[in-house]
Structures are given as C-alpha cells and as structure tokens.
C-alpha cells in the first residue's frame, strides 16, 4: 500500500510539474506581449521597454522559466502585472469562494445523483427509468452558461427569488451572513449540478443494473434479504466504485465550469479571476490560478485513486 501511495504521489507531482511548465510556455507562445494590451495608442518604445523590463519579460525564455521555478519552490507565485500585488494573496482571496462553489456542487451532485441512478436501475424499463434517462441524456447536452443565464433570468430577475450576482450581501453579519451566503450560492450551484447530474446518474444506473444481475445479489435474494438491503448495501457498494473515477474526472469539469458560472453570476472566485486575467494577459495571475486549480484537481484525483484502492484491493496489484 505504501508503495502504491508513493507511486501515486510521484505521478501527482509529475502531473503538476507538467501543468506548470505547459502553462508557462503556452502563455508566452501567445502572440504579442502583455504591454500591448496595457497601453493602446501613444506608447513610446521606451515606455514599452520599461514595462517589459519591470515584468522581466525582456529576459530569455529559459531564464524566465528557471527563475519562475526557483520562486515557485519558495512558495512565491510572483507579482501580478496589473495589480502589483503578490499573486498568492490575490488567489487566496478568491480560492475559498471557488472551493465553496465547486465543493457544494460536487456534494450535491453525488447526493442527488446516487438516489436517481439507483432508482432508475431498480425500476429499469418503467416510466420512472425512462424519465430519468431522458433527463440524464438532456442534461448531458446542457451548456453551463446557457443554464446559468436561464436560471438568472427566470429565478433571479423575473421571480426575484435569488440575488443577481455577488457571493454575499456585504452588509450582513453573523447568521444573516451565512443565510445570505447560501442564498447567493443557490443559483450558481444549481447550474453546475444540473449539468453534472445527468452523466453521473446515468453512469451509476448502468453500473447498478450490471451489479444487480450478479450472482451474489441473486444469492442474497435467495437468502431472503430485503430488496432495500440488497440494493443499498450490497449493490451500491459495488456499483459506486466505477462512479468514483467519474467523480474525480468531474472535479476537473467543475473547475472548468466554475470559470463560466462565476462570470455569469458575478461570483468572486478563481474562475472569474482567470477570465479577467486572460483578458489582461496578466501572466503571473493566470499561471498562479492554473497551478492552484491543477494542484487541487490532481490531489483530488490522487485521493480518489487511493480511496479506490482501499475499497478495491485488486487495483493495487
């Protein structure tokens, strides 16, 4: 087990290094330089040269890369071109909001997706199954920003049930602040859940149908175990294993979805930060945000793999 954990951790570190390196070079391979976007119109070559020097962009690429890695090892993500502040501070300001949004959406998708998948499998071929399949397939085709805008227009603007944008009413304190937090979180989470739920429930349904046809389930039935127990205790435990992999993959999708969701809902997370930083070609912020998200997703995936290994010892072989 220790060997497995070590090898998995090593893979995670390697993945993060690849993410860091590719982000670094991809950004710099983009045409132009950030100073072009900073000053339109009257920018003398001296001004441009001064800006490039200030940001260290006048140095050879490999030198920039080495110095970036050196700083990174010391936990320094650099200084934002635009905000003249440490990127770490800027991102740490935003990260809790994204974790809250993506975390809530993840938990809710799993909590709602499992009963839906199980109910569909148990009622295979019946109207409930067909309805759930219909929903699953349609949800698969949903696009996050479209869902977000629809929710915002109907539930936010027309019915006025939810606030338009923001993460919290800044004037609230104590319990009211938490209520406001949940109130603001509802629509962004709902839009992510609606998009994620379909694939998740469908996968679980397929796994469940397969498991319910296994001999040991029939044996359990012969032993007189109740249907509820057969399904929830014996069936789900085995059906959920492949769904674990999907959970890990979904984390990546959630992070991608967060960029769009946070922009539509004016939610102050890392996703929106990336949207803004890309527009301004603020390299250090884009790099920092990608690294932070890559680390989050890679760690979550590694943990999923390890959990999988714990639940299914054959995986370690």
């Amino acid at each position: 087990m220790v060997r497995f954990v070590l090898s998995r951790a090593l893979k995670a570190v390697l993945t993060i290094w690849i993410a860091i390196t590719s982000t670094f070079f991809l950004l710099r391979l983009l045409p132009g330089d950030p100073t072009t976007l900073m000053v339109e119109g009257d920018m003398t070559p001296e001004m441009q040269a001064a800006l490039l020097k200030t940001y260290g962009l006048d140095r050879p690429l490999w030198e920039q890369y080495v110095s970036y890695l050196r700083e990174l090892v010391q936990g320094n993500l650099g200084i934002s071109f635009r905000q003249i502040q440490p990127v770490t501070d800027i991102i740490l300001d935003r990260l809790p909001w994204t974790l809250l949004l993506a975390g809530s959406a993840f938990v809710l998708t799993v909590a709602v997706g499992i009963p839906i998948g199980v109910a569909a499998a148990v009622n295979r071929g019946k109207w409930l199954d067909r309805a759930l399949q219909g929903f699953g397939i349609s949800a698969n085709a949903l696009f996050v920003p479209s869902v977000a805008i629809l929710l915002l227009v109907f539930l936010g603007a027309q019915l006025g049930w939810f606030p338009i944008g923001g993460a919290i009413d800044p004037d609230t304190r104590g319990a009211a602040a938490y209520l406001s937090l949940v109130h603001h979180l509802a629509l962004p989470v709902l839009s992510l859940v609606l998009v994620q739920l379909g694939p998740y429930a469908l996968t679980l349904r397929t796994n469940m149908i397969e498991v319910l046809g296994e001999d040991y389930i029939r044996a359990a039935q012969a032993r007189g175990l109740s249907a509820r127990r057969r399904v929830w205790k014996h069936g789900l435990r085995n059906a959920i294993l492949p769904a674990l992999t999907l959970m890990g993959l979904q984390l990546g999708t959630l992070v991608g979805g967060a960029v769009l969701t946070e922009t539509v809902f004016a939610y102050p997370g890392v996703g929106r930060l990336i949207y803004e930083a890309v527009g301004q070609q603020d390299y250090p912020v884009i790099q920092g945000a990608f690294i932070m998200l890559a680390v989050t997703v890679v760690i979550a995936n590694a943990l999923t793999d390890m959990l999988y290994a714990v639940l299914n010892p054959r995986i370690r072989l």
Binding site: G32, T44, Q48, D93, A157, G165, P170
Partner: protein, 541 residues
Amino acid sequence: MKKTVKGRWRLAVALGVVATLGISGCGLNEDNGSSSGSSADSVLRIGTTTDVSNFNPLQSLSKTDSWILNAMYPHLLRIDENAKKAPELAKEYRYEDDGKTAVFDLRDDFKWTDGQPVVAEDVKFSAEMIMKYKLGNVAAKLTWVESIEAPDATTVRFRLSQPYAPFAEGVGFWMSIVPKHIFENAGDLSKFPNDSNWVGAGPFVLDSMTKGQRYVMKRNENYPLAPEGKAAVSQVEYRVYPDVNTMMLALRNGDIDMMGTPVPVSAAKTFENDDKIKLEKVGALGFAHLTYNMKNEYLADQEVRQALSMAVDTKAIISAVLQGDGQQMAGPISPVFSDYDNTEIQPYPFDPAGAKAKLTAAGYKDANNDGFFDELNFGVACDQSNANITRVVQLFRESAAQAGIKLENECVERNTFLTRTKNGEYDIDASQWGVFDNPMDQLRSTYLSSNPGGINYNLLESPEMDALINDAAGTTDPEAFKTKIKNIDKVVHEQAYLTPLYVENFRFAYNASKFTGFVPSPSDLLGMVTAYSLAQVTPVQ
C-alpha cells in the same frame, strides 16, 4: 438499521455543509470596513465590469479603474458635454513665451480629505513622478516638458522644448493629481499599490472594498464643484458584474442604480417598457474606420483608396450594425469636435459601379473575367471580439465585391490583432479608435511619420503631412489652429488615407426613479461616471 443509515447520511451532509461554510466563513465579509449606508443615507450603486486592478492613479491604464480613481483624484481640466475642455482644479490656462510655456491657474478651495489644501506643488510632483518613472499613458503627453515650476500655491508653469498647441488640454485632462505629502513617502511610485488609507480630493474617496464584489466610496465633505459644496449623494458603491447581461438584470432588479458600461445597441430595447430605467445618449470620442496600409503597393495608389471608399456603404453599415444610432463622417475629424470638423467636405458616395469604372480607367484589369480585378485582393484585419466591426467587415466584403475588389476576412483574437497592427502586418485595418480628447493629438498619432509608438496604421511617411501637422502643432493662436486642422482634414479626405465609418452613440442606463442630475460627457470611457457628474447627481425625493 434504517435509522443508522439515515443518521450516517445526515451526519455526512451536515459535516459537508459545515466544512464548506467553514471554508469561506473564515473570510466572511472581513474586508468590509465601517461604512454601510444607513437608511437615511443616499447610496448610488453603479455596475462595473471588473475589479480595480491598480489603485495608483498615476499608473493605472484601466478604463474601469478610472471610473473610481477619477472620482478621488482631481484633474486640472475635465471634458464637458460638448467635448470641450472645462475647468476643474485649474480655473484657466494660457500659453506664454510664444507657446513654449503652459501656465495653469489653480482654484484655492480644493482640499485633500486629510485637511491639507490642494496646491501647485501637488501638480508639479504628480507630473514629475510620471516623467521620472514613465507612468501610464500621460508620460507620452509630457514628452515636451523640460521643467516644471510652482512659484506659488495656485500657479503651475510647464516649460516646453517646443510649442505644442494641445499640450495644456491633453495633460490637463488626462493627468491625475495626487497628494504630494502622501505619495512622496511611498518611494518608487512604479511599485506603489496605494491600496489602503486613501486620501483624495475628488467628490468621493474609497473607504472600503470587498474584492470581487464591491467598492464603497464615501463623500468628500468639501468638494467645491458640487452645488452645495459637497455631493448630494452620501455614498457611491461600485458592484462588479463581469457579464453585461447580468449587469442589466441587476439594474432591472434594483440591485444597482446605473450601469457604468454602455448598454449594447441590441439590448437597449429591453429597457423600453421599464418606466424606471432611463437611457442617456452620449457620443463617442473615437470612431470606426478602415485604414489602408501604404506599404502595400496597390493601396499606395490614391485611386485604389478612393475606389475602396466608394465601395463602402456607410449608411447601410450604420443602419445594420448600429441600428441607425450613429453619425456618418466625411474626414478624419469627428463631428463631436464641432470647432475642427471641416463641414465643406462630403463623404465619398456609395457607388460600386463608379468605383469599378474608376479602377478600369486607372488601368486595372480583370484578365480571367472572374469579376475581380487581378491585382486587387486585400485582407481586412480586425478584432474578432468586436461584434460591430466583424459585421462591418462582412458588409464591406460584400459591397467591395460589387466594385471588383476581392477582400478576405482576417478577423482574429484581440491580442493577435493588436500585435499585427503594431507590426503593420495587414492590408486594411478595420477597427474603432477609443478616445481622442483633441484632434491634434489624433492627427499627430495617426499620420506623423516620426511619431514612434503612435497609431500610424497607414504607415504613412509623407513629408507634406508631416509639415502640415508640425505647423499646426506649433500654432497656439486658436483661430489659426482651427483653420490648419480643417485643412489637414481635407487633405486626408482627398488622399483617402482612411475611410471613416461612423461615430457611435453610447447609451447609458440608470434608474431615473431614484437618481437624477447626471452630466454625461462623450465617450464610453467617461460616460456618466465622471467626478463632476457624480458630484451633480441628486436623489429623487
């Protein structure tokens, strides 16, 4: 057993909720300071599209930053509703020494929020720091300055290396004045973030912020340009909505009282049935144009440029792209600058057949009879994120085909486009200039061959134009200056260096049932949210 399973689920869900809430709970509303408006206060909430990226007004280049920073740091001059310079901190300005010295006389009743008066030394310090650290785009406007003097508290003299007619207007309008007694302690101003304990002298000063969400500004109790000596609104709050559709919903729902950013033409109709929302129309300080690269051997031919100008149906473009909400132009000077616009020149008529005949007469041939002149095949570069311009390119391509000129759409991602225009890698540039505060700066930037880093997209190297521009630039007599600008307007039109397309109108939406008295000024850069405008706003009783 049932209970146990249920109990486990409940526990798991509860733990999840507590954990997620706890994550953000530690940062809940922590940035928010003392100010939260009581019911007696009048709070004006404005929608902005992005966070403040730089609080240092000498350095910031962001449009949305300027909405907040301009309300805090005074400028010598402002731009009025008719695009003319009006007094702000400076009562008046004049030229001495044959135009080689620009003198500003300042008001004596502006005060910083810490009680210190705003004095000439503050102006001198601000300009000198911009020159020393090459800060922002004002640095280019101070190129001519040799020295600055502040002989007394209300007089500032800029000694110039040569006369430059719009110097005072340009610097007066663009340069933020910062408190010397605060900023001089900050060391290297190119690294000074100025992100707390703000001291300003505008109608409002930042008080607190919740990054990603809102910026709260409190009223300066002493602002002499407000009717009552201070703004009628006690607090201005900027709320961040990156998506303009979301911002529009927030305005309709009453979450904000006005949009800082213009309402897209296509969306303006959605406010028509809303009694509370009013749309204020504001002209642009820039314009959309097609500019021809003179390094292209065919585009260097005046006949070809004129034929292209005849192959652009600007009226149809204004109707289709702006739904009629824009003005046609003839020469390169926008009608917004009514003193300088040469009204004697007329736009080239839309006449593709005439253009074709003109090109045939000039010797261009269609040897393979495919309907296009063999040599006249050009790429039209544009920023694909600008929906209006991409539509313009499409319409231009269709109408130019009628004149036998083949065009290819080369609209690309914004930064690629900017890089290509900087490097002159295009045949025809279709774009929209943002803000010109005066025609002289515009002509100098766009046509002077020796202007490094300008926006001479024609890549023009014309001794005649250089002479005309340099002559006008050194003319400080207002009437002679106007005549010279009008003459350049005519020359550019005859040469068809560019085809001006339209001056766009911007529409700014606000809740008229709650606030009134805005003083809009041209351009989307300033629009409704200038310091002067915010100081005039009154709540509706």
